[in-house]
């Protein structure tokens, strides 16, 4: 097999893996802070994709120009979802939370179909569409590059925010021990809301960026959502750095396996996951 094919697959894997990582970051953040597995996470991505599409269709904004708007819109949506649906069941049994987030998934998919129709939509000529970098016969598409770079930047920003700001420290404190955090004067409820806003904004950015080359329909979030779950589970629930590593690894495994047998690319991701959880049940970076 020519070396450039392997290099191309590796690059493409890293590019799509960066998106998996950013989707996974929001999911792992929510779990890390309040132990809620958000099954509707993929649909926040779908909402971001639709927001970017309609900003392009109605306001003639390129997906890159509308990115801040899209991030805010999805963050607000995530905030509303938290206030209306998640907050009331936080004290309930885990089963209640699973049912609520799963219900949200079904509900929002249905709503999207009623509101936006089932048609597949895409942005026809994104600004970065014609851009192509070519190094030694390895091609990097502009949309993919911008999407991956944006995803990594956004992931880094979330990480830095948690690590180096006081509010971030409060979030980490609640993740560590909500009762102790409360004693320190931190209101876990506000931190939870903030976590949902951040998770929403980051997955919104992922959705907006994806519209540079991907299409959206009411079930578009499902496949990415599934991959994000595997990334989070593989990394260990709650680990942001781990989710990034897992996301990138999954992208590469998918495209490299694809070189041998394209039909096995997606399956290989799940094999990798099974191997990881068999060897290390709490995930690569998991602590519990």
């Amino acid at each position: 097999m020519p070396l450039q094919d392997i290099a191309q697959a590796l690059i493409s894997g890293l590019l799509i893996g960066a998106v998996y990582a950013l989707v996974a970051v929001g999911l792992t953040l929510i779990f890390g802070v309040m132990d809620v597995v958000n099954f509707a996470h993929g649909n926040l991505l779908m909402a971001g994709m639709y927001a970017a599409f309609f900003a392009w269709l109605g306001l003639h904004l390129d997906p890159l120009a509308s990115l801040p708007l899209v991030a805010i819109a999805v963050a607000l949506l995530a905030g509303v979802a938290y206030q209306l649906c998640i907050r009331p069941v936080l004290k309930g049994p885990p089963l209640a939370q699973i049912i609520v987030t799963f219900g949200l998934l079904v509900l929002t998919t249905g709503l999207a179909q009623v509101l936006f129709t089932a048609n597949t939509r895409g942005v026809t000529n994104p600004l970065v569409g014609p851009v192509r970098l070519s190094v030694a016969q390895v091609v990097i598409g502009g949309p993919q590059l911008v999407t991956a770079a944006g995803a990594l930047l956004c992931t880094a920003a979330v990480y830095a925010f948690l690590r180096y700001t006081e509010v971030g420290a409060a979030i980490l404190a609640v993740a560590e021990d909500p009762d102790a955090a409360r004693l320190m004067g931190i209101d876990p409820d506000r931190v939870n809301l903030l976590t949902w806003l951040i998770a929403g904004a980051s997955v919104g950015v992922a959705g907006g960026l994806l519209m540079n080359f991907y299409t959206v329909n009411p079930t578009a979030g499902t496949d990415f959502g599934l991959v994000a779950f595997v990334a989070v589970a593989m990394a260990g629930f709650g680990s942001i750095g781990g989710a990034v590593v897992a996301g990138l690894a999954m992208g590469c495994v998918q495209t490299l396996t694809g070189l041998v047998g394209p039909q096995y690319g997606f399956a290989a991701i799940f094999v990798l996951y099974l191997v990881v959880v068999l060897v290390r049940p709490r995930g690569l970076y998991g602590t519990r």
Binding site: P2, D5, Q8, A9, S12, G13, I16, L84, C85, P88, V89, V100, G103, L104, V106, L107, T109, G110, L111, Q113, V114, T117, A118, N119, T120, R121, G122, T124, N125, P130, R132, S134, V139, G141, G142, P143, Q144, F213, Y214, T215, N217, P218, T219, A220, T222, D223, F224, V227, G251, Q254, T255, L256, G258, L259, G261, P262, Q263, G265, F266
Partner: protein, 430 residues
Amino acid sequence: MGIRFGEEGKVMLATCTMKRVLLLPVLIVLVACGGGSPVGGSTPGAGLGTIKIGALEPLSGSTASSGQDTLHGIEVATEVLNGKLSVPGLPGLSDGKIQLLTEDTQGNPQTATAAVDRLVQTEKVAALIGAFQSSVTLVAAQRADRLGIPWVNGASSSPALTRQGFKYFFRTGPSDLTFAKSFYDFLKSISKQHPVKRVVVIHENDAFGNDGAAAVTQLSSQYGVEVADNIVYQLNSTDLTSQVQKIRAANPDAVFTFAYINDAVLMSKTMAQLGYTPPAILAFGSGWSDPTFIPTMGKLADAAMTRAAWSISYTEKNQAAKVVADYFVRKYGLPMTENSARSFTAMMTLGQAIANARSTDPEKIREALAAIKITRTIMPWPGVKFDSSGQNVEAQGVIAQIQNGKYEVVYPASAATASVIWPMPSLTGR
């Protein structure tokens, strides 16, 4: 006290929200059902009365746009049969009114089978129609066959469907074997100027893709063409780079594709991004004939070719097709496609069979279908006549090419509205 009160309030709010959350899907289902099944104006006491027909299509899920388009074709045919729309040469029913009962298969064979049970056992439908995806049709039609209910299919193309020995299954449209033959006849007709020696098949891993690829492979040796590679991928792929790389490595003279809409878009965009343009894309419809393909792809759609059972440009040559297609776009705001044209023809055939049978008895309808001979349709082929396997022997494919954002028929010459563009101009930089 205050805190207690507050917490009670919280619980109340929670219950309210929960109720709302639980109620909304119910409302959505109600709305969806209301939109999907027009109430048939039955005329009590008149002969056949209300004739119930069950229509199964993927109305949600990733192929929903194609499923809805296909259902629209059935709905327009129902209006013609019920005398609400008059089309020259296509008579309505002189007796009875058709009531269409729509079910969403969600693109899932199990859901479709459950829908068949409900439609047959609870609703007592006289016949069934649908279900777009070959893999879904295959499983659901099997159940219908066991229940002894006739199934007329227009838009599923897997050759396997008419090889099951079904007694009650009839397909009015061409199978992918017929389509593959049309493609190879087309390639033969241009072989002087553009010889095609090597092809690559890229297909989805389901009945549509696998059986279709097998049909292409089966015919290729007859026509002296080498299938250099046979590439498989999963539905709704997030990345198709390695697949496109494999096509490029095989360096074919033409690429046959079997892909639904999402993957069709991603595949074309990936080719453009990797700077690879095959000499020709020969698509087996589906994604490439989805009504949203051209609007989504813009200039990137141009010069791809697709097999089609019909094309909007054919309305220039068929008056009935023009009336139907004009009404279709007025009603739904989207142009009629080969999918809706095929399902329209399936429904018209079923209506004709019911009229011939003068009965709503499934057994009599089956007999009428087996004996039917229709010579006027909106399709670019002679008519409808089934062989013993239930395949319409008159069905043929045409080859359409997207030119300036429109489907133009390029083969056969008798139906052609434009001449072919070959090789494909570079996808990159359009």
